[in-house]
């Protein structure tokens, strides 16, 4: 798996296409899923480091997906996006440890870009540290 590989989950094709393009042009590798269930299937094959997910989706919504990611893939960072802002949803995101929740319609993509970038940086830092520790272990 390439280092900068993210999973984009939204039931809206237009958003998958446009946001997917945005991230690809920014140098990320992007895989998409149209709802929580499809995202789960893809996560089971590849443990993506960053998941960018919509909240309101059929079959399995973003909150459920977030809960599952927390349980099954503790290292995966999550950034939520939503067009329907409710306190209930925002609180659920906080409680389940999403990095942030960005509101559509993304007047400025900087917030989302920064959140995704920070999520990858977080991973890279840990990986470096783990590598160092492993190196120490091997050396000792």
């Amino acid at each position: 798996m390439s280092a900068r590989h993210l999973l984009l989950v939204d039931d809206e094709a237009g958003i998958r296409d446009s946001l997917g393009r945005h991230f690809r042009l920014a140098g990320y590798e992007v895989e998409t899923a149209c709802d929580g269930l499809e995202a789960c299937e893809k996560l089971a094959k590849v443990p993506y480091r960053v998941v960018v997910s919509d909240i309101m989706m059929p079959r399995m919504d973003g909150i459920e997906l977030l809960r599952l990611v927390r349980q099954e893939y503790p290292m995966t960072r999550t950034v939520m996006i939503t067009g329907y802002v409710s306190l209930e949803n925002a609180l659920a995101c906080v409680r389940l440890g999403a990095d942030t929740c960005v509101f559509k319609p993304f007047r400025d993509l900087e917030e989302l870009d920064a959140a995704v970038e920070a999520a990858f940086v977080y991973h890279e830092q840990w990986e470096r540290k783990l590598l160092e520790l492993r190196g120490l272990k091997e050396a000792s």
């Binding site: 039931d11 809206e12 237009g14 958003i15 296409d17 446009s18 946001l19 393009r21 945005h22 042009l25 309101m56 989706m57 059929p58 079959r59 399995m60 919504d61 067009g83 329907y84 409710s86 559509k104 319609p105 993304f106 007047r107 400025d108 993509l109």
Partner: protein
């Protein structure tokens, strides 16, 4: 209340076939200030009374050629139920066997001969007073009717706005999604534009050339997405405007509406409420054209769909099946949910106003009441066919448009 409220001078019809009696009465009546239309038989009296500007109070002799007093009374009551008449019968006999049939025929009063002039004068005063009262009451009734109609129109509109309020989150979501991909694409273009400029100016570095190529590749799909997004936003705002449009009075001319179009438009308005929570299945021929007013039909459908979604809240299985069945010029539209159903006690009252099961602020309690009225306005019906424990099924019937109706 006095007879001063009636057009002056007070006019009455005097019908008697006996010229002597007529003469005596005429003299008296004129002396008392009344304007008298004299008739010498029943037919003449009837003709005089049915005229639009004819007298409304009549002194009718019981026995007359042509039509007797009781017959005149009966026909006036039967044929002009909305008009106010005050009819006094004159008779030579005062026994109950005469008086009762006379009153039952529709006469208001009864004077038996011989009578004193004071009695006649007093009875006439009562008659004109009664007529004045009736005309005042009729005025009030007309005003009440007018007010009720105005209120009904306002009520329908305010219920629609209330529905719209509950839909606002849905609408915001529907607009936010297409706005999102427009917004993302615009920002992508902004980011990439410097690379394109550099290429045009012949100063592009390798990375910029790469970006410009990527943009060229992506441009057709970006434009398509943006057009789609704009079209979706335009459609939603158009639907909203239509939906919240104020009613000017009675129903619009009722035209054929393609059921599927209205149905899906209504479902789209509820989409956020349904998404991920309620499964909606539409079965049957959606192309059927029904007689309805599209915004009102959509108001009804939104109401039924939102009710079903509310009813299924917390249920294991949440499925709304909308079945369309057309038979013999009638289209039957069933909304079957998998909720707990309607308890029989509530089922009887469910179409009455202010029967909300929702907590304050969540419903006006008018939804089904207004829905039924709306549907009846375009000749349809709305009923509940619920089996307790098997979910509720609201059935909407509409008349199909006949072939050739534009």
């Amino acid at each position: 209340m006095s007879s001063a409220d009636l057009p002056q001078p007070l006019r009455l019809c005097l019908a008697d076939d006996d010229p002597t009696s007529r003469l005596m009465l005429r003299v008296l009546l004129r002396k008392w200030g009344y304007e008298v239309e004299e008739c010498c038989d029943g037919c003449e009296a009837f003709t005089s009374l049915v005229r639009d500007d004819g007298p409304r109070l009549a002194v009718l002799d019981w026995m007359m050629p042509g039509m007797d007093g009781a017959q005149i009374s009966r026909r006036l009551r039967e044929e002009f139920p909305c008009r106010q008449y005050y009819l006094i019968l004159l008779t030579a006999r005062a026994e109950a066997e005469y008086v009762l049939p006379g009153l039952r025929s529709g006469a208001d009063d009864f004077i038996s001969k011989p009578f004193t002039t004071a009695v006649l004068q007093a009875r006439l005063e009562v008659g004109f007073r009664t007529l004045a009262l009736q005309s005042t009451i009729a005025g009030y009734a007309a005003r009440m009717q007018e007010l009720a109609e105005t209120r009904a129109v306002q009520l329908v509109h305010s219920d629609r706005l209330a529905t719209l309020g509950t839909l606002s989150a849905s609408v915001a979501h529907e607009i936010n999604n297409p706005a999102s991909f427009l917004s993302v694409n615009v920002q992508t273009l902004e980011e990439m534009w410097p690379a394109v400029e550099a290429c045009v100016n012949g100063q592009a570095q390798e990375r910029q050339l790469e970006q410009a190529r990527a943009l060229c590749r992506e441009m057709p799909s970006m434009l398509r997405e943006m057009k789609d997004g704009l079209e979706r936003i335009r459609r939603i705002t158009g639907e909203l405007r239509n939906f919240s449009r104020s009613d000017t009075g009675r129903a619009e001319p009722i035209g054929p509406v393609e059921l599927g179009v209205s149905l899906h438009r209504a479902l789209r308005m509820c989409s956020l409420r349904l998404k991920g929570k309620v499964e909606v299945e539409v079965e049957g021929d959606e192309s059927v054209r029904v007689l309805a007013d599209a915004p009102r039909l959509e108001q009804v459908v939104v109401n039924l769909v939102m009710n079903a979604a509310d009813a299924m809240e917390g249920c294991e299985r949440r499925c709304l099946r909308i079945g369309i069945l057309t038979l013999g010029g009638i289209c039957r539209l069933g909304f079957q949910d998998t909720g707990p159903g309607v308890p029989p006690a509530l089922a009887e009252r469910i179409f009455l106003p202010f029967q909300s099961t929702k907590s304050a602020g969540q419903g006006t309690g008018l939804g089904l009441y207004i829905s039924r009225n709306l549907v009846e306005e375009f000749g349809g019906t709305l009923m509940l066919e619920s089996v307790e424990g098997a979910g509720a099924c609201f059935v909407l019937t509409l008349n199909c448009a006949k072939d050739g109706e534009a």
